[in-house]
């Protein structure tokens, strides 16, 4: 069971996290590898882990941020960067 105090939302889906987890770490635990449409034509994904490659940029509360550097926070709305294309 997870309660709201230790989970955030990934595209509306609840993702639990542990203390000091980054968003990327929590998504990794949850088995989310493909972060969906990114800033350019390639899909976003975890890659370098140190904030250099910008490949893991997702929308955190409506603002782009590196998933690998951003601490997970309870109740946060985290989404694929671009609206899902049909």
């Amino acid at each position: 069971m997870t309660d709201r105090s230790e989970s955030f939302f990934w595209n509306g889906q609840r993702i639990s996290f542990e203390p000091a987890d980054t968003i990327a770490a929590a998504l990794e635990r949850a088995g989310v590898t493909d972060f969906g449409a990114g800033q350019g034509p390639c899909n976003a994904r975890y890659f370098c882990g140190i904030g250099a490659c910008q490949a893991c940029v997702v929308s955190v509360g409506g603002t782009p941020a590196e998933a690998c550097l951003t601490p997970a926070q309870a109740g946060q709305q985290v989404r694929t960067l671009k609206p899902v294309r049909q």
Binding site: D34, C42, A44, Y46, G49, A52, Q54, L69
Partner: protein, 451 residues
């Protein structure tokens, strides 16, 4: 925030060593780390201390000693603070990522110790989700204290592949195999110089023992040529072994690593203080990628430079410099058995992604280069959009430069010829640049999220 003499950027071994040494000499030091804890990529500590990833005893002892040294000083440590740049007026810009604000700092000296970068030679499919750097995989393990889920292939070249494979194994998640591109790793003639560095040999022997026990194959001369997504969300890799035989294997993750390199593109260059600017020193892997032991010594070197400059104290012992020189020779010996060379990129298929940020392909650059009129790096950047994406060229300009050199049989241009050293050295939130007070006062931004 208090007044300070020196700002150190980066909480890895070089930054911590520099900060501790300068603080001990009486300078007011502030250390900024972009993540939540000190340690850098090599000494990264887990969120849950019970879940520490096993590392060689000597390595953890070095870090304990170093962090204890820093703890005894009055150096200020700011976590979640990322370096943005040095502006024309000499102001050092640092983003406080938790508060969403920019610090504009005037200091007498700036030590940049932001760490090195992993090299990943482009090949078809390297840009896909599920493909990570070996270092990135290691960071994830160190942070979560868990091995990666599913089947993992490590490929490329270098000792990091062994270290990470051993750590995965210790966490109960051994990789399927390590594909080491070099065939020479065990060649006695080439490996002989490494006898001068028994520390490296002992470390490697420990890793190999663990991998052998777990039955993880270390396949020399093998490399991943192509990665393709499968219909069920996995990755099919095309592997060529030392004899040229081709095989295919489907995995959940591919971790790539083709060595480490310095990371000074986009940083202000080392320079003496001027009327406007602080004294700027680069330290550790960002200056020259020589590994953790050298980084500590290089941090001390940087500290001594700054101390001499700011206090007029005579330079101290040259011991640290000697360590850096020794480690450089060790890295050269390692480079001699591993394979950090750049393959013929002109042979890659057209559709291979060269710049992931902007989705620029090898074919597009090849077409640009196919003229009698040799374009400059700047023209390649502007017209080819190489180095214009959000990683600011950190993962593509080396390869674009190599293609230019291979096409024209000329020397490879430095990365800075493409991207220079402008600030921001990384993307920075407009909200932070304005400051939360200003951003809030201007408007309450209408939400664009449906929930």
């Amino acid at each position: 925030m208090r007044s300070m003499d020196v700002l150190v950027i980066g909480g890895g071994p070089a930054g911590v060593a520099a900060a501790a040494e300068m603080a001990r000499s009486g300078l007011k030091v502030t250390l900024c780390e972009q993540g939540g804890a000190l340690g850098g990529a090599i000494h990264r500590q887990p969120g849950n201390p019970a879940r520490a990833v096993p590392v060689p005893r000597a390595q953890s002892a070095r870090w304990h000693k170093l962090s204890a040294l820093l703890a005894k000083t009055d150096a200020e440590v700011l976590t979640f603070h990322a370096f943005i740049g040095l502006d024309a007026t000499g102001a050092v810009l640092v983003e406080d990522r938790r508060q969403g604000r920019l610090l504009v700092l005037r200091v007498r000296a700036l030590v940049l110790a932001v760490g090195g970068l992993e090299r990943v030679v482009p090949r078809p499919g390297w840009h896909l989700p599920g493909v990570v750097t070996v270092g990135g995989l290691q960071v994830m393990m160190k942070v979560t204290g868990r091995g990666p889920a599913g089947s993992v292939l490590l490929a490329g070249s270098g000792p990091l592949l062994l270290a990470v494979a051993a750590q995965m194994t210790a966490l109960g998640a051994p990789p399927l195999a390590i594909l080491e591109r070099s065939r020479q790793v065990l060649s006695p003639l080439r490996a002989a110089p490494l006898l001068l560095w028994p520390r490296y040999l002992a470390e490697a022997a420990g890793y190999m023992r663990r991998l052998m026990q777990a039955g993880v194959p270390w396949r020399l001369g093998s490399s991943v040529q192509t990665i393709r997504p499968t219909d069920d969300g996995r990755l099919e890799t095309v592997i060529v072994d030392g004899a040229g035989a081709v095989s295919r294997i489907v995995v959940d993750k591919v971790a790539l690593h083709d060595g480490l390199r310095s990371n000074s593109d986009g940083l202000p260059p080392a320079a003496h203080a001027t009327d406007r600017n602080p004294h700027v020193v680069l330290a550790g892997d960002c200056r020259e990628a020589l590994g953790g032991v050298a980084a500590i010594a290089d941090g001390r070197n940087a500290a001594q430079q700054v101390i001499a400059r700011l206090t007029g104290a005579p330079p101290m012992s040259s011991a640290s410099r000697r360590i850096v020189d020794t480690e450089r020779r060790a890295q050269q010996a390692l480079a001699n058995i591993f394979d950090f060379g750049i393959p013929d990129l002109l042979k890659l298929p057209d559709e291979t992604i060269l710049c992931r940020c902007e989705g620029r392909t090898v074919g597009a650059l090849r077409q640009m280069l196919a003229t009698d009129d040799q374009p400059s790096p700047r023209e390649i950047k502007l017209n080819g959009r190489i180095g214009m994406g959000s990683c600011q060229g950190r993962f593509c300009v080396e390869w674009a430069g190599a293609m230019l050199a291979q096409q024209t049989c000329s020397a490879q241009p430095a990365g800075a010829e493409f991207i220079g050293n402008r600030w921001p050295s990384r993307p920075v939130a407009i909200r932070s640049l304005l400051g939360p007070a200003v951003a809030d006062a201007i408007s309450s931004i209408p939400p664009n999220e449906s929930d």
